[in-house]
Amino acid sequence: MDWGSILSNTASWLISPETIAYALAALGLAVHFGYGGLLNFGMAAFMALGAYGYAISILTFGLPWWAGIIVGCLASVVFALILGIPTLRLRADYLAITTIAAAEIVRLLFTTQVFDKVTNSADGLGNYHAGFRAANPFPEGTYGFGPWTYNENGWWVRVFGICLLAVAVLLVWLLMRSPWGRVLKGIREDEDAVRALGKNVFAYKMQALMVGGVFGALGGVVFALPSAVVPSVYVTSLTFFIWTILLLGGAATVFGPLLGAVIFWVIMGFLSNVLPELASSGVLPFMSTTQAATLRYILVGLALMLIVIFRPQGILGNKKELTFVK
């Protein structure tokens, strides 16, 4: 086995656009679930709206790239409104059911032939990079060292994504130390108690849904920036990867989603390299290399279960503050 290339491939996931995108979406979910108690199982839809909002604004409407990002965020705010008005009055578990359905509706709307001219249905969208790349401050060339060697476009996507993530982390930290965050944490536990103290619970839940949704959309944008918008990405399993990241890092923490995303992708990267190697060298019998590569998804599911059972507060969380068993 070539451990050198395995480790190098693994290390490159540390600052990959996927890692940054998932961290942003997980941060949005932290606002929804970790602080607001909203069981949102539709994060994939918010990400899809961000990615499609960005690509469609550029390709169909000829907007500049930064306006495309704003359109993606606005689309997720509108989606939060449409989703929230009828469902936020429901109990948490019903919200979970409706969000999972709404996310599927969004994905199917992007996949259907009806809007083929705009969405390119199942083939997805690409070739919208010109504007973003023209704004690249890095001169042409290849930079970095070891596993982190990219060309100017690779660096521009990563630096831009990390800046977005930094701003998002700062915003969540500012929100959650404030009285606004205090009300939200109160709602997480008992809305009636907060309502009895004169707070408009519905408005707070809606605001939290929007804020988290915008972070999800930004995650979708960063996901789409380097490559293409592929509809088959925004499926329910994406939502559950985000959940795994959130719970791994710590649901009610500011840095947990970031840490969770890094650990998740580094391990995924490691397994995707090491498992096929193990299969081909005969350590994993009864398995082809392709099958071995899919084994990692089984391990992710297993990890999610183990976290929820044995460490519900995540790596960074406070056990007293967040547990599933009371």
Binding site: L171, R182, K185, L197, N200
Partner: protein
């Protein structure tokens, strides 16, 4: 023996609250709530059917009645947590029916819950701060800029610590509320309600599940609310407590107001005795249950015997054990 115990419980009663005879729906001199024709139906059951009810201002009103009388439902309706089928009510001059719960609270009518809703995963101090109204930092945009709300936050904290000190919870301010005892949570819920500077405090069974040591302190806090110019409406089952602190008693049974009046008069009312109190209305239930030390009168013994006969258990007060030697002396 009993006199020394009851002394701190002898509050100044407000009298002359009503106009005319004390009958159900009697008009008050200065009502804070006037409710008319409030009904709420659950399936075939009319849980609340109140024709007319006035709650006096700056007085302690007790709402009593057997289980299922509709007390808590009426509470939920008056505070906007449930919607009535019919009815209108006015709070402090403002029409309140159809107003959502959070707006009701903002208008100065704050409630507590039968099952205590202290927010266990927030600290005691955070719980208190949450109760304060009109916080600038609770707006999503203002919350991002600390200088906008920092000064107000300090004032709120000062006020919260002040109230916590009165409720003897100040040493616990940084603990998660979940670590408090049941009685302390009741105290915290009440203290938190005071943070909103209410005009009317509505307490749903404030004494339920509170140990005797804290009961005394809770009672004093309720009396204190009146001294500070607030009105109180509370639901309670312990008749002795009601007798001690209430200025006015409203009795409900099967959704209707069956009687109201000053506590001493109401407890003599045959309809009330019939509906709620049973034949032992003179007996201090606190003494029977051992919560309050007091004279074991013949009536108490009679009731205890009755209970023993029903449950088949010998009662501790009849045959004092080594665990309760002081009580033994009390009786002699």
């Amino acid at each position: 023996m009993s006199s020394s115990n009851a002394a701190p419980l002898r509050p100044v009663k407000s009298t002359g609250l009503h106009i005319g005879d004390a009958a159900p729906g009697v008009a008050k001199v200065d009502p804070i709530i006037i409710a008319d024709n409030v009904t709420r139906q659950f399936g075939g059951l009319k849980a609340v059917d109140v024709e007319h009810l006035e709650i006096p201002r700056n007085a302690i009103t007790a709402l009593i009645g057997p289980n299922g009388a509709g007390k808590t439902t009426l509470f939920n309706l008056l505070t906007g947590f449930d919607k009535p089928d019919t009815g209108t009510w006015v709070f402090d001059g403002a029409q309140l029916n159809g107003v959502p719960a959070f707006k009701v609270a903002r208008m100065g009518q704050v409630r507590t819950f039968q099952l205590t809703k202290a927010l266990g995963l927030l600290t005691v101090l955070e719980n208190m701060k949450l109760g304060s109204q009109k916080q600038k930092g609770e707006g999503i945009f203002a919350s991002l800029i600390k200088p906008l709300w920092n000064k107000q936050e300090e004032e709120i904290e000062e006020r919260a610590l002040d109230i916590l000190a009165r409720f003897k919870l100040d040493t616990k301010k940084d603990d998660f509320a979940a670590s408090l005892s049941g009685g302390q949570r009741k105290l915290l819920e009440m203290a938190r309600a005071l943070m909103s500077q209410p005009k009317l405090v509505m307490l749903d069974e404030p004494m339920a599940g509170v140990n005797p040591a804290l009961t005394q302190s809770l009672l004093e806090h309720i009396l204190d609310l009146k001294t500070q110019g607030m009105s109180v409406l509370f639901v309670e089952h312990d008749m002795q407590m009601v007798r001690h602190i209430a200025d006015w008693v409203v009795v409900m049974a099967e959704g209707r107001v069956v009687a109201e009046g000053p506590p001493e008069d109401v407890m003599q009312n045959p309809a009330v005795i019939d509906a709620y109190l049973g034949s032992h209305q003179d007996v201090d239930l606190g003494v029977v249950t051992g919560r309050v030390a007091g004279e074991i009168t013949p009536e108490v013994e009679e009731l205890l015997e009755e209970i023993d006969a029903e449950t088949g258990v010998d009662h501790a007060i009849d045959q004092p054990t080594a665990a309760a030697p002081e009580k033994d002396e009390d009786i002699k």
